[in-house]
Amino acid sequence: MKRVSFGFILGLVATATLSGAYAQSPDKPKEKPLLQTIKERGTLSCGVSQGLPGFSAPDDKGNWIGLDVDICRAIAAAIFNDPSKVKFVPLSAKDRFTALQSGEIDVLSRNSTWTLSRDTSLGLNYTGVTYYDGQGFLVRKSLKVNSALELNSASICVQTGTTNEQNIADYFKSNNMKYEMIAFGTADETIKAYESGRCDVFTSDVSQLYAERLKLAAPNDHVVLPDIISKEPLGPVVRQGDDQWFDIVKWTLFAMINAEELAVTQKNVDEMAKSSKPELKRMFGTDGSLGEQLGLTKDWVVRIIKAVGNYGESFDRNVGAGSKLGIARGLNKLWNQGGIQYAPPIR
């Protein structure tokens, strides 16, 4: 794993140092658009986590499934009309941005928190929010702790290179509590150390805590504390500099959210495509050419919904009521149902 991560870094250093300096001569033609490169290659290269149930993990047949994976499949469906044309690249938190910067992957769909510094200094663009999350704490029930405020002097296991690592520092400092932090390279190493008793607390985004809890030998001996100490909007990320690609990834997610709002599902999509409602006609491309403006085809939304379903379907199937995780929709409900999940209109 370390070799892989180092490979990305070397890749970035190499592309940075050896590739032609196109910045020096602005008259030179710009690089080929990413969409064209992907079409010629025949697959989408998508960075995902190394195995986080519900978000991106291989199932028992070795197929990648999850909420983050569905975004990759939806993009592939929109481009190729085939959700299987994705090469999944499992990445640790530490390597993910370097892999994207170095061009190893086309899009990063790996529960990554949208922050100002990542958006500005890493040469990346966040395309939207797939999951509104917050950071929480997993502890043993036997500790009889009811609130994060009782965690003074605790040992805390965290995955390195995450926003979690810095939130903890802020939270404990502002509450005048001491702590010891042990940071590990991957989620697996972190949860193993927590299970072995090295730490009293495992901290991460709450969705991840529920997913990682399933990996423990006795999940019911552990509890997620009610305290949420941060805002963690998670979403797909692309490199800066290719606005067309930025739009495609962004609007793939928006299409899924809009489809849920208009009650278009995987089952009824063919029927709805024949509808004469103006907003459905625009979405399905029977009126206008919105898909072509994106660089895709007219039926791009039909392709996406047929492949992965609307946002709500994907949520339920992977992390929500219809899954092992059973996470409540909460903030991730649509804006008109009491949540904050909201997509700009397709028109």
């Binding site: 300096a21 910067q101 940071a183």
Partner: protein, 401 residues
């Protein structure tokens, strides 16, 4: 005539070699200058290209980030460190942690390696087989596996802090590490240190005097009772006159963890144990080869002079073996230092983990951070080789004398 026969068959290659090899004359100098110019130009192109490309990708560049606030905590710091310190402080903390693990690992690996080598060469059948088994087992298993073994299979099975194994009610062993009373220097501390220094100097002086007497008169002076008196008596006297030099801060269990005392983290312990036992297996073989490279007659000569086996080894064999041992031993020291970067797997905050890991992913400044980390490992390695080279020179000189 023989000169004619030995004319090189490939004249072009030979000429090129002559020129590049720095043959005296203006042509050689010119080519060397050109060569340096090419290297400088390539270096400049790389730096310029990197800068331009990073700018084009809108990735921030430069070393300005080093003065930004890090905002994350580090579990072990040899110098005062808090989350509000800068990334350059993180760099220093990580570097010191790497140096600490490497230094302790090198010392421990050398001692274990020497013992195993001597064990393997010992006429005692059982001892030599056990030593041989150790070498074969340890050097054939991957290091990362051994680090994880010590961390997850051995240290993690220790009880939690509330049920920790305690010695005299002041030393505690648990899965959070080993907690021992922390010595806090008091006012009399400087006097105490001064007394120790005088004791050591006096002992050294006595040793030099005894050696000189030995070489001059052949008389062996018994100095060890005086040495012990100086080394223990002087500090004890200082403590009696000026009060205790240190007061111990006792660890107590408070909440989840121990408060007070000094703690050795399990990450540190696992890394040191794994690195030193692993490297020791290689060092043992190097030392064994070195000792066996000394002709057997030397051992017999020592015995015929009436020297014991230990004295022969110490005075005759090992000084000669060192010439063979030192170069590959240096390699092992370098390997150990570089291998300490595997710490990232068990959460020990070494340079690679906190700087080329956490800092890199928090700031995204891959090019700068990798360059800096590379530079530091290079510097540490070169310094280690230089020290070993100096020692080798010293050994050679004393053998020649």
């Amino acid at each position: 005539m023989t000169g004619e026969a030995r004319k090189p068959p490939f004249r072009l290659a030979a000429r090129l070699r002559n020129v590049l090899g720095g043959r005296a004359g203006w042509r050689g100098a010119l080519v060397q200058l050109l060569f340096i110019a090419v290297i400088v130009w390539v270096g400049y192109e790389i730096v310029e290209n990197a800068r331009a490309n990073l700018q084009a990708q809108r990735i921030a560049s430069g070393f300005g980030f080093l003065s930004n606030t890090a905002g994350f905590s580090v579990s072990q710091a040899l110098i005062p460190y808090s989350e509000s310190d800068t990334y350059s402080r993180v760099f220093l903390v990580g570097l010191l942690n790497t140096l600490l693990v490497s230094a302790i690992g090198i010392i421990a690996a050398t001692i274990i390696g020497l013992l195993v080598a001597l064990g393997r060469l010992s006429p005692n059948w059982l001892l030599s087989r056990i030593s041989g088994g150790y070498v074969e087992l340890i050097r054939n298993l991957p290091l990362l596996f051994q680090i994880l073994f010590w961390y997850l299979a051995v240290l993690a099975t220790l009880p939690n802090p509330r049920q920790s194994i305690s010695l005299f009610g002041s030393i505690f062993l648990s899965n959070r590490g080993l907690v021992v009373p922390d010595p806090v220097p008091q006012q009399a501390f400087t006097v105490f240190v001064f007394a120790i220094a005088i004791g050591v100097l006096a002992a050294l002086a006595m040793r030099i005097y005894a050696r000189r007497q030995l070489f001059k008169t052949g008389q062996k002076l018994v100095i060890w009772p005086f040495v012990v008196l100086m080394l223990i008596g002087l500090p004890a006297l200082a403590a009696l006159l000026f009060g205790a030099p240190v007061k111990f801060d006792m660890p107590t269990l408070r909440g989840f963890n121990f408060a007070g005392g000094m703690r050795i983290l399990p990450e540190f312990a696992a890394l040191v144990v794994a690195l030193s036992t692993y490297t020791a297996a290689f060092i043992a073989e190097i030392i064994r080869a070195g000792i066996q490279s000394v002709p057997k007659g030397q051992m017999e000569a020592g015995a015929s002079l009436g020297l014991s086996r230990g004295a022969t080894l110490r005075l005759v064999i090992i000084p000669q073996a060192l010439r063979v041992i030192l170069p590959p031993l240096t390699n092992q020291y370098l390997n150990l230092t570089k291998n300490s970067s595997l710490a990232v797997a068990i959460g020990y905050p070494d340079l690679f983990s906190v700087f080329a890991g956490t800092t890199l992913s928090q700031t995204g400044q891959a090019v700068e951070i990798i360059a800096l980390t590379m530079g530091v490992y290079l510097l540490v390695s070169l310094a280690t080789s230089a020290i070993m080279g100096l020692y080798g020179w010293h050994v050679n000189r004393s053998l020649a004398a």
